[in-house]
């Protein structure tokens, strides 16, 4: 587990240093240290309620930290794609107009961004009328228009079918190669994550493990389950890690079946790996 030994590691775009987040006295994120370096794709995985979105929001400065710190490289430009953006039906908004919020972009730049993410035809369509895949691509185009050094995506493929998911992650990878931007994303889709990430961070209130997809996927359990639909997600939680279990952060791994509000199906019967 990375403990960020030299905190000023100059190459990092963004780094969290022993960050904690509390909601109403409950510690949601405990002692998080991570960093994202230029041009790397880092994926955060974890069960529902493990604090994935909260971690992104803390890195973005939306959610205040109870302890620790988040540092960004000076002048860092972040492109953010939020989870589940609902555009109210009462708000008429074409894709082109949406791209210029809050800062205006030239029509040519907007058109180029839409073409880059593969949906040049939607510029004049209403956002509310777009399909899930088109919508996510427009969100991505908006993030790209700020010429980001770092793209932060919160479950960007939620609501997409499997081919849509795979195509979306291919696009992310292409964008990283073309623009050199780093990508930090939250995902449920372990299969694609494994092929599309440089590093995977497994989160469950704290960082359970971290490493290249190869390292993570070398767990025999993972290989056994690879290809078995969403259960592949279990592999990460069965992986034996060298993390400390100080149990001072409000949850009890492995023993309690009620652990977490919505743990993945089958987690009880298969064991949790932390016990």
């Amino acid at each position: 587990m990375s403990r960020l030994p030299d905190r000023g590691r100059s190459m990092s775009l963004i780094a969290a240093d022993h960050a904690c987040v509390r909601f109403a006295g409950t510690e949601v994120l405990h002692d998080i240290s991570l960093r994202v370096d230029p041009a790397e794709i880092v994926t955060i995985v974890g069960p529902n309620g493990s604090g994935k979105s909260t971690l992104l929001r803390a890195l973005l400065g939306i959610t205040p930290l109870a302890a620790g710190r988040v540092s960004r490289r000076a002048g860092l430009r972040i492109g953010y794609v939020p989870q589940r953006l609902q555009i109210d039906r009462t708000l008429p908004m074409t894709a082109r107009r949406f791209l210029s919020l809050p800062r205006r972009h030239a029509p040519a730049a907007s058109a180029a961004a839409l073409a880059r993410v593969g949906v040049p035809e939607v510029a004049d369509r209403q956002m509310a009328d777009l399909s899930g895949g088109q919508f996510q691509r427009v969100l991505l185009a908006r993030a790209l228009l700020t010429e980001p050094d770092l793209l932060i995506l919160d479950e960007p493929t939620q609501g997409l079918d499997q081919p849509g998911e795979a195509a979306f992650y291919r696009l992310i990878d292409e964008l990283r190669h073309d623009t050199g931007c780093a990508v930090l994303m939250v995902s449920h889709d372990l299969h694609v994550v494994m092929s599309a990430s440089d590093r995977v961070i497994c989160l469950n209130g704290h960082i359970c493990c971290e490493g290249t997809p190869q390292v993570v996927s070398h767990a025999p359990e993972y290989r056994a389950m690879f290809g078995l639909g969403t259960q592949g997600a279990l592999a990460l939680y069965r992986h034996e890690h060298d993390h400390d279990h100080t149990h001072d952060h409000g949850h009890d791994h492995g023993h309690d079946p009620g652990h977490g509000p919505a743990r993945p199906k089958g987690a009880d019967t298969r064991g949790h790996g932390h016990a």
Partner: protein, 263 residues
């Protein structure tokens, strides 16, 4: 020209719609309809306090409307159940206002003028106040337009773009209080929220962009203002409700025509 009460009334309606158009669009987008009602109803309490303390009525309504709007916004931020909270506040404000105004003796005041407006009695001074307030609100909304829209879409998105959604909400709260103070004379406390919501809702079916919707709402508000005055002159109906009735007719037409146009 301003000597004609009808011209003054028409100008008052036009001025008001400049502010209610864009603000009404935000009220619709952000689902603040009840919020507008609570703030508007509080204006009656403001009238009572102003009359009791010999302060200008405009100042009293502005202060109380602002207080109410800030209270509601604060409670919302703290996670109160807004449907119930707004219901309680809106009706309590109206009730307390009506009770309070009954204590104000010796003041030549006609309650229905405050409840339903008295646009035909608009003076030059009122007109200056209405246009001043409306111009202020329109300028504020135009200045913050992009930020307001982004925050309305998604607060995290706004935050990540370096905006402060709380500040944008405050802008709308301020604008709402000013519009309430300004609109009281024109359509009255009971119908201010209608003047915000109905033109914007009518514009929705015909608009393809947020700016288009706001501009159309201004136009529909203006048409309703003139139409309502016409109806009032012609049939001797109360002017404020006539204006809202006209806006409602435009809404009904757009609800019928809008879907047909899109086919």
């Amino acid at each position: 020209m301003l000597d004609d009460f009808l011209v003054r009334a028409g100008l008052a309606g036009l001025g008001l719609s400049l502010a209610t158009g864009p603000l009404g669009a935000f009220v619709v987008w952000r689902r603040m309809a009840y919020f507008g009602d609570a703030t508007a109803h509080a204006a009656i309490l403001g009238v009572a306090l102003a009359l009791a303390t010999d302060l200008p009525v405009g100042l009293g309504t502005l202060a109380v409307a602002l207080l109410m709007a800030v209270t509601v916004a604060t409670l919302a931020a703290r996670g109160w159940a807004m449907d119930t909270t707004l219901g309680v506040l809106a009706h309590s404000a109206l009730a307390f206002g009506l009770v309070a105004i009954s204590f104000v003796h010796g003041v030549r005041t006609d309650l229905s003028a405050w409840l339903f407006g008295d646009i035909l009695a608009v003076t030059r001074g009122d007109l200056a106040q209405i246009w001043g307030g409306a111009a202020l609100v329109a300028a504020l909304l135009i200045w913050r337009w992009s930020a307001l829209l982004t925050a309305t879409l998604n607060e995290d998105l706004a935050h990540a773009s370096g905006l402060n959604p709380d500040r944008e909400r405050l802008v709308l709260v301020l604008a709402l209080a000013v519009v309430v103070a300004v609109a009281l004379k024109v359509v009255g406390a009971l119908l201010i929220a209608a003047m915000l919501i109905i033109p914007a809702a009518a514009a929705r079916g015909m608009a393809r962009s947020p700016e288009g919707m706001a501009a159309l709402a201004v136009g529909i508000g203006a048409v309703a203002g003139i139409g309502g005055l016409g109806l009032s002159m012609w049939q001797d109906t109360p002017a404020g409700p006539s204006i809202i009735a006209c806006a409602a007719v435009v809404f009904a037409l757009s609800a019928i025509v809008g879907p047909l146009r899109r086919r």
